[in-house]
Symmetry: C2
Subunit: 142 residues, 2 copies
């Protein structure tokens, strides 16, 4: 089942309507670079749909999070960012504080150690965030 279908099914389930704006926003989101902010997506959409409103983009992104197509991230610059959520793989992030580059990484051993830590405190993990901030290869040379 692709994301458009997941979205449709969710909309029907909630008694909501699949409008042209929502379709355009979903489509644009899926074809954007990852980790885009509401503003990024809004500006991009304006080019093809000059009358679309910021509020609609915002509301639709929230819907995408609600139905599991997107995940909301925050890397400390005061702008919520959204990225497509793939069911199969989890990853964390390296964030360059100079140029804003975001690198995704996966490290199953860290996940395993995390689980051990949580178990030691009898803590039930629902989700986590793990971000390494610093300088990417390029910026470190300058």
């Amino acid at each position: 089942m692709d994301q458009a279908k997941i979205f449709n099914a969710f909309m029907i389930h909630k008694g909501l309507k699949t409008t042209n704006q929502r379709k355009a926003i979903l489509n644009s989101f899926l074809h954007s670079r990852s980790h885009c902010s509401t503003e990024d997506l809004y500006l991009k959409l304006r080019k093809k749909h000059p009358k679309i409103g910021y509020a609609t983009v915002h509301r639709t992104l929230k819907l995408l999070v609600e139905c599991g197509i997107a995940i909301e991230q925050n890397f400390g610059d005061g702008h919520a960012r959204f990225e497509p959520l793939r069911a199969d793989s989890h990853h964390d992030h390296l964030v360059c504080q100079q140029c804003g580059l975001i690198i995704e990484f996966e490290e199953p051993q860290i996940e395993e150690l995390q689980n051990q830590v949580a178990a030691a405190y009898q803590f039930t993990i629902r989700n986590h965030r793990h971000e390494l901030y610093g300088l990417c290869f390029r910026c470190a040379r300058k």
Copy 2:
């Protein structure tokens, strides 16, 4: 060198003045439970110093971060939190989404794996955040 001295040295270095308010805020901060918000500290201080302003607490906390006595954290509830920074030890957090309990943990193996990940991407880590969100022991039972 204790924190009051670090603070004094920093203030002199920057040409700033060590006022009674700043001393009171530093002192109250150091004797507060960890992870207090600006508001927490402001309300606590009001009891002994009824005329102190929120803005002053805010500005002083920023100074404490700047001179390395405090670190700013954000656990996603919309309130920045501050905790005393000890030079010797680093820790990460488990955050209960039900009752707000914050548990600190240290796991050197995770730190080591982090360094390996960064090295693989030729990335220079300046700092990181690693938080596990979910339910604490008590809340999971309910």
